[in-house]
């Protein structure tokens, strides 16, 4: 069992937790993920590491409430325990030698992009961050990004905060103005990453994407997380989660990501009703 030592609501649909897991905290690096089960008989879900404290032995996770499992997780409080927590899994984000990077984050993906930005910032890399949200209420981690970035652009779909528009707009503008990055690293919804890649490709701007497909074991055993990358089948759990954005088949990944949509919707409703009944 793993204790929730801290819980904070970042916005109405996104929650942050610090989980006591010393073995995972000792090894975790930006870009890696963990798999958890909320309770006995729960499903296994992957979440990317949003931070860690090696001394305290805690790992930070930030999740959006999208289905039954995240709903159940969100009902746990500080001091409660979750059943299983395993990791760190996958490869860490390769930051070696990077001098100037543009981080493009969308929604809850910003939580995963932040540790990458922090790591780059700490090693003296110039970090330009572009983070986007649907509206002001959904904005998360603004201060943290400010601190980790040399330049920060905040976008909202409706213009309720920062600039109005999509994250691809300031990115395109920068590239058109002759900005050259060692790498663009993008983490967010599949559709956003697809369009970030579509934006960078004409400029031949190297772009890394972080994939978070459906998984079970997270160690390569099931193959449920497979993606087509450069015409080859890759497993996100052991070969990724980071891949060369130019090579990923996003349309296929998007189709696969909604494989269990109906089941998920029902699970989410069940979880909500269940807890309504308890109150």
């Amino acid at each position: 069992m793993f204790e929730i030592v801290n819980k904070k609501e970042l916005n109405p649909t996104v929650t942050m937790m610090d989980i006591k897991a010393p073995l995972v905290a000792k090894k975790a690096q930006a870009g890696q993920f963990i798999i958890l089960r909320v309770d006995e008989d729960g499903e296994r879900i992957p979440l990317t590491v949003a931070g860690y404290d090696r001394e305290e032995g805690t790992v930070k996770i930030i999740f959006q409430i999208v289905g039954g499992t995240t709903e159940r997780l969100n009902h746990k409080q500080k001091g409660d325990f979750i059943q299983d927590f395993v990791g760190p899994l996958g490869k860490e984000t390769d930051v070696e030698g990077l001098k100037k990077v543009c981080i493009v984050g969308g929604g809850v993906g910003c939580a995963i992009a932040l540790p990458v930005a922090q790591r780059l910032h700490k090693m003296g890399c110039e970090v330009h961050s572009i983070i986007g949200f649907r509206n002001k209420d959904l904005l998360i981690l603004e201060d943290e990004f400010k601190e980790a970035s040399d330049k920060l652009t905040i976008m909202t779909d409706d213009g309720s905060y920062g600039e109005k528009g999509l994250v691809t707009e300031p990115l395109k503008e920068a590239l058109e103005n002759g900005e050259k990055y060692d790498e663009v690293i993008t983490i967010g919804p599949l559709i956003m990453m697809k369009f970030v890649v579509a934006t960078t490709k004409p400029f031949d701007q190297k772009t890394t994407v972080s994939m978070n497909p459906i998984m079970i074991d997270g160690t390569g055993m099931c193959g449920g997380c497979r993606l087509t990358v450069g015409g080859e089948t890759k497993f996100a759990c052991v070969d990724g989660p980071d891949f060369d954005g130019f090579l990923v088949d996003f349309d296929e990944a998007m189709t696969r990501s909604v494989m269990y949509k109906d089941f998920e919707r029902k699970e989410h409703e069940d979880a909500c009703n269940l807890f309504k009944g308890v109150e």
Binding site: R44, V238, F263
Partner: protein
């Protein structure tokens, strides 16, 4: 007087039409009377040919002699001297190609039902024996076992009995490896695996779940920082193989590992499970091994209308256990033999990109095969019959064509050499790897094989580790 019946006592089983719709165990096991009657078929041969066919060298005539006398607990004690998992082996061993293939009674008639007797004895023990296992006195040496499947559990059990302080590390949340994620409930009830793991714990074995060796902790850390003097790697086969044909990423295409893990480990067969799985419709399982049979019979029980096994050779070359194939046929699974998939077909609505059915499997194009000359293994090579392509209408495709070794441990352990297929290189008689103090066995070495071979390898390594640390 021996029982000279030419045939084995049949195994009582659920009726095919009933069992095809439930996950309860198919074979229900011998009664006391039937077990004694079957035991009486054993001639107690002096040279014990059956023992030579057993990878863990169970003293077969000896335990059968105890059954004849009705001394079932003593029979169990004889088996457990050689095998850590009798209730498992009695159910999943391919006895027909091992002990029973050497049985003298098999020359004229059917061999003694050794597997069925082993299962009877183990079940009798589990039901009637109340004593606890005595924890042996510690010899002060610490050994780490990676993976809690058949090879790891065997190695851990044997070492614990010799007084070693053993810790088993398991990547998943539950111990048992392939016995819990792979082999279905109807063939191996999970409470039996839990019981075997519990027995090991009584022997003093520690089981740490949720630890991925190679990620959470490396082998070097186990040995240099955590005080383990030897390590056994029984991490299993690893990554599922696909055919690399078009359409394998469509919705409704699974590896057998994923399909079985969802159903077995994650209990997707329960209606209240939180883990989804595709149920119903028409299902094709590609492959002819035991895993393919397990996947096909699981799909049937989950509610499929029709299940096919698609295999590129003929019934004769089918690698699955005979009993599993017979059970599958009885349950109504259709064998599409001498057929090979060339393409999986998906639904595509060009007028509506948001149609939820887009990207779902609707069929599989196959080509008919004929058998040519034998290959290097002596199996006749399948050759395509040009122009014989046809389409099967399907909703789900399950690939059960084997696995390739997992790179996690290899890539984080310096000095641990693997062969061209990725299997860990070991000395056959000891399980010793190229890294000092590290031993390996099971599918991580051989690639996908059987439970009993993995157990044999775990046993061999336990002996070798004992010798290494006794020096």
């Amino acid at each position: 007087m021996p029982n000279m019946s030419m045939t084995k006592n049949p195994m009582p089983s659920q009726e095919p039409a009933v069992r095809a719709h439930n996950f309860f165990e198919v074979a229900t096991g011998y009664s006391k009377e039937t077990a004694i009657d079957e035991a009486l078929r054993c001639l107690n041969c002096k040279n014990m040919p059956c023992v030579s066919g057993c990878p863990v060298k169970i003293h077969i005539p000896e335990f059968i002699a105890k059954i004849k006398e009705g001394e079932f607990e003593e029979a169990y004690q004889i088996i457990s001297k050689s095998s850590s998992l009798p209730a498992v082996c009695g159910r999943v061993c391919p006895q027909e190609s091992q002990c029973e293939s050497k049985c003298v009674r098999g020359i004229k008639g059917e061999p003694v039902g050794i597997g069925r007797l082993e299962r009877f004895v183990a079940d009798w023990h589990n039901e009637h024996y109340n004593g606890t296992v005595q924890k042996p006195k510690s010899n002060g040496h610490k050994v780490a076992v990676i993976g809690s499947g058949p090879s790891g559990l065997t190695c851990a059990g044997d070492l614990a009995k010799k007084g070693y302080e053993v810790t088993v590390f398991e990547a998943l949340h539950l111990a048992g490896g392939v016995l819990v994620y792979g082999i279905p409930e109807f063939r191996l009830p999970k409470k039996i695996v839990a019981k075997e793991v519990d027995t090991l714990k009584q022997l003093g074995v520690k089981v740490e779940t949720n630890v991925v060796i190679g990620k959470t902790i490396t082998i070097d850390e186990l040995m240099n920082e955590m005080g383990f003097e030897a390590v056994f790697v029984g991490s299993g086969a690893g990554l599922p193989r696909f055919m690399n044909i078009p359409g394998e990423s469509l919705k409704g295409v699974y590896s057998a590992n994923e399909f079985l893990t969802r159903s077995n480990l994650m209990k997707a067969y329960n209606d209240d499970s939180h883990t989804p799985i595709m149920k119903g419709g028409k299902v094709a399982v590609v492959g002819g091994g035991n895993v393919a049979m397990d996947a096909a019979r699981t799909a049937l029980r989950l509610g499929a209308d029709k299940v096919y096994i698609v295999y590129r050779r003929s019934m004769e070359e089918l690698p699955a256990r005979k009993e599993e194939v017979e059970h599958a046929i009885e349950e109504g699974i259709e064998f599409k033999l001498l057929n090979n998939p060339v393409k999986i077909l998906g639904y595509n609505n060009p007028d509506d990109k948001r149609d939820a059915k887009n990207g779902c499997v609707i069929g599989m194009e196959c080509v008919k095969m004929e058998l040519g000359e034998p290959d290097e293994k002596g199996r006749r090579r399948p050759i395509e019959i040009e122009g014989s392509n046809f389409t099967l209408d399907l909703d789900t495709v399950i690939m059960a064509i084997g696995t390739s070794p997992n790179p996690l441990i290899k890539s984080t352990t310096e000095g641990l050499d693997v062969n061209s297929r990725g299997g860990i290189i070991v000395e056959e008689n000891t399980g010793k790897t190229t890294k000092q103090g590290v031993y390996a066995g099971g599918d991580a070495v051989t690639g996908a094989a059987t439970v009993i071979l993995a157990m044999g390898a775990g046993k061999t390594a336990a002996d070798a580790i004992d010798e290494y640390l006794s020096k």
